[in-house]
Amino acid sequence: MSYIQKPAAHHPALPKNKLGHTRRDYEASMSTLCAGCGHDSITAAIIEACYRMDLPSHRIAKVSGIGCSSKSPTYFLGRSHGFNSVHGRMPSVSTGANLANRDLVYIGVSGDGDTASIGLGQFCHAVRRQLNMTYIVMNNGCYGLTKGQFSATNDKSSPSKKGQANPFDAIDLCQMAISLGAGFVARSFSGDKAQMVPLIEAALSYNGFAFLDILSPCVTFNNHTTSTKSYEYIRDHYQMTGRLDFVPQMDDIKVEYDTGTSTDVAMHDGSMLRLHKLDDSHDVRSSDEALMAIRKSAAANEVATGLLYINDEQRDLHDVLATDGRPLNSIPMSELCPGSDTLAKINKSLA
């Protein structure tokens, strides 16, 4: 942890977005994570994505659980809403918040421990309910905050720093998310902002459950030469399934569906995703093909990254439940709480 604060002084030529904010305006307190932690790079990518999308900070809510990863919302979007919840409980807090106020943009930040161990049940139900949020797992294969114990995403072949073997197979959160019906599933790597930033932009503009599994080396406990979650290993076994461009305003761009080399996906908010396919990559609209592709890569000891799956017809939780279009805080009290007469009527109808 640095003794000094990051100076507010910035490059005099730092560009501003449509809201008149610089990238620096989306920062928050300085990170207290270990120097070189992948989570900090993901933080920087979230900042960059929000800046590029001209998002107003006060319309964003950050929710997290417990872990080094879950601490990171303190380090981005200092002027947004935030809730640092209990270990593994980010999904239920997000669900409540989202139901109460559907107008905010929800960024859930979790770790592999927070999501794949203690919070696995919660995670499954958030996916299943198609919660409209961006759910980011900063995946380092270990419990960083509690000094590096194996997490459920650590590969069987990846022993601990001290040489202890890992007896269990890893849970692949992307496969789980696809199986459970997530509408947007992607994997990336903290060391690759060029890939990460457009994926985060796309996830933020996706209407439904957007899941991002971002490999994020723990420099202190899981970056050793035998780890499969180290900077070096990931770079060596990195496989890109395609390249994504995020187009914020598609007004003047013609959407060309499936030309063979690129796939365009129109988003609800007027933006567009253009996915440049690589030769042998799968159809991102097919969950079967996506699952196959992930498994094939894994079998070949590689990590498939990029946008893995997208369902552009997903209906989110509010849609499914046909809730009121308004956030609770803008519904008049008389409607929200219609009084004892109405209650009596309801009770009567149940009698």
Partner: protein, 630 residues
């Protein structure tokens, strides 16, 4: 904001693009890695020191001031620039416009006034001064003119045992620093102290002796002669009425000289100063103190184009002197043999496509009443006393031909420096010329090759004391530039000798010193340990650091996080990294905050103090510098 489809920036070279791991095979096009072993690379990053003609180690002396080590700060200055007390008041300060701080917020560090602090609070430094050798080396040198250029040559050569004779037409040494820079900017005591310190090292002074023939000096068989006679001829304006009004029209620099020697103690009530340079500013402010009631400055050009330094103009205006721009003098109006006014035509500036300015008369005319005119429209170096048949060549403008590096004329053994070499400059350039000439003179006298210049000394030392601890104060201080307190205007206008600026007290000095960014504490990158985690790039408050594909300089600069458009500032390019990319750091607005090094998990960045010292001819006038070198 990209609003059309632009291909995403190159992503990591993973399997899909073939693994481009391993060091360069020499095939990747783009910039070669920066050679940080070239002593000028990091020197250039220290903007202030780089801009200082004498390459004074500014950030180090500012840190010494912050530690209240005034004497040490003074000595580093004295060794570099010989006149810290003088320069701390009147230097042209080329370092300040260069200061990095000025590119981050609007105002640079008050480098010059901090130098004055070192001089004001240094205490007794006699014991820190070099000791002269008891033995002479048998070589005799003549210095012509006792301005800063000659005095620097004397200071540099005396410790080597040279026998130095200094000829000066005026009764005391100092040159224009004594005769032209008014005492309300430079008190006599400060001037005397620093001029005497050099003279007392053992110079044979011949004050009051004007040289009228270089030949006769050469006839005395000196081993070398240094011409430091300045640019003593003020320009005149031959327009209608000039001759008739001669008694009331003065050449600015001659008039200031006669004021300095108290030959002139009053001036008319209505004074017009013609000219827009610093001499004009000194003339008008002096006139105000000698009883001028209506003192005006007139300039031919628009005010924005005035040659005077901004701070000189500010001071004059602060004292209530109006500046009339676009006023071109047409005629001295004489009535009954007396000057009663000056007639001006009003000009207007027009700029062509290339931005070149043309001054055109508007047809309008105006007459200002006056009873005295001070002419401050420039100076020439003039050498009526140098014979043209002694092998010393002049160019078509009657300027001596002088080598830019060695300061030698076409006659071996005769050197020039200061304003005499290429016309009017300033004190710090005169000092720099003096250092260079001293090196040449020593080589010339000892049979060496004067073109063979000594290499500078430099040293790079890590400042790391702990994971987040550095031996310099790396915390950025958002403080704005501290204003220098001034004497009460009523008091200073009433007395020519009262110094206008009071200087910083210790508290203000400390406040200002904290603004310095420590640009000499360099960010040094080691490719082999970088794991490309991006932590440094993410933390850098000014977006200096990039990891990107290499390219030719122009496209590479354009492709950075914030494009590096300031071509005066270098970009630091690493060798190829594991992913095939390179690290590119734009040096332009780096705060030297060390956060990159603090957030680097592998120590690939380190903060290292770079000490750079121009080599001087004698080691003993460089002892404080040498202590920083290995």
């Amino acid at each position: 904001m990209p609003s059309e489809v632009t291909p995403a920036p190159a992503s990591l070279p993973g399997k899909a693009r073939g693994n481009a791991r391993g060091p360069s095979d020499g095939q990747i096009p783009g910039m070669p890695p920066t050679d940080i072993n070239n002593p000028q690379y990091f020197h250039k990053v220290v903007d202030c020191q780089w801009a200082c003609p004498a390459h004074t180690p500014v950030p180090e002396y500012i840190r010494l001031i912050a530690q209240r080590k005034y004497a040490a700060a003074y000595m580093l200055n004295w060794e570099s620039n010989v006149f810290p007390g003088i320069l701390g008041r009147v230097c042209d300060r080329p370092c300040e416009p260069a200061c990095r701080r000025g590119r981050i917020e609007d105002k640079p560090v008050a480098i010059c006034r901090l130098k004055r602090v070192a001089a004001d609070y240094k205490g007794d430094v006699d014991g820190m001064m070099p000791v002269m050798p008891p033995e002479k080396n048998g070589k005799r040198i003549a210095l012509l003119g006792a301005g800063p250029a000659s005095l620097t040559v004397a200071r540099d050569l005396l410790p080597l045992g040279y026998d130095i004779t200094l000829y000066e037409k005026d009764p005391a040494g100092g040159g224009l620093m004594r005769t032209n820079i008014p005492s309300f900017r430079l008190p006599i005591t400060v001037l005397d102290e620093e001029v005497d310190r050099v003279v007392n090292l053992g110079v044979h002074t011949k004050f009051g002796q004007e040289i009228t023939s270089l030949k006769s000096v050469l006839d005395e068989n000196y081993d070398s002669v240094f011409v430091g006679t300045g640019a003593p001829r003020g320009k005149d304006l031959n327009i209608t009425g000039r001759a008739e009004a001669d008694e009331q029209i003065h050449i600015g620099i001659d008039w200031l000289t006669s004021v300095a020697f108290k030959h002139t103690e009053s001036v008319g009530k209505k004074v017009i100063v013609i000219g827009g340079g610093n001499t004009a500013m000194d003339c008008c402010r002096t006139a105000l103190r000698l009883g001028g009631e209506d003192v005006r400055v007139t300039v031919r050009s628009p005010k924005a184009d005035m040659k005077a330094s901004d701070w000189e103009i500010e001071e004059a205006e602060h004292e209530g002197i109006p500046i009339f721009d676009n006023h071109n003098p047409k005629e001295f109006v004489v009535e009954d043999g007396k000057l009663v006014g000056v007639k001006f035509e009003i000009m207007r500036a027009e700029y062509d496509d290339t931005g070149r300015r043309k001054l055109l008369p508007t047809g309008e005319e105006v007459t200002f009443e006056c009873d005295a005119v001070l002419m401050a429209i420039g100076q020439d170096n003039a050498f009526p006393w140098i014979e043209r048949d002694i092998g010393l060549d002049f160019n078509e403008w009657e300027q001596p031909i002088v080598d830019k590096t060695t300061m030698m004329s076409t006659r071996p053994g005769v050197f020039f420096g200061g304003d005499s070499a290429w016309g009017p400059e300033n004190i710090i350039w005169a000092v720099a010329h003096g250092h260079a000439a001293a090196i040449s003179i020593d080589k010339h006298c000892s049979g060496g090759d004067i073109a063979d210049r000594p290499a500078p000394g430099s040293n790079l030392v890590s400042q790391k004391m702990g994971i987040h601890e550095w031996s310099y104060d790396n915390d950025y201080d958002a403080q704005h530039r501290t204003a220098v307190p001034h004497a009460d205007l009523k008091i200073s206008l009433a007395n020519l000798a009262v110094e206008v600026e009071l200087g910083f007290d210790e508290k203000l000095a400390l406040k200002e010193a904290e603004r310095c960014l420590n640009c000499d504490v360099q960010t040094v990158f080691t490719e082999s340990t970088c794991i490309e985690c991006d932590a440094c790039m993410d933390i850098c408050p000014v977006d200096c650091i990039n990891f990107t594909e290499n390219d030719a300089e122009e496209p590479l600069r354009a492709a950075l996080r914030v494009p590096a458009l300031n071509a005066d500032q270098d970009i630091y390019v690493s060798d190829v990294l594991n992913t095939g990319r390179v690290m590119v750091k734009d040096e332009d607005v780096c705060l030297h905050c060390g956060l990159c090094a603090e957030r680097c998990p592998t120590g690939a960045w380190d903060m290292q103090q770079y000490f750079y010292a121009e080599t001087q001819v004698s080691k003993v006038t460089h002892a404080h510098h040498s202590a920083y070198l290995r």
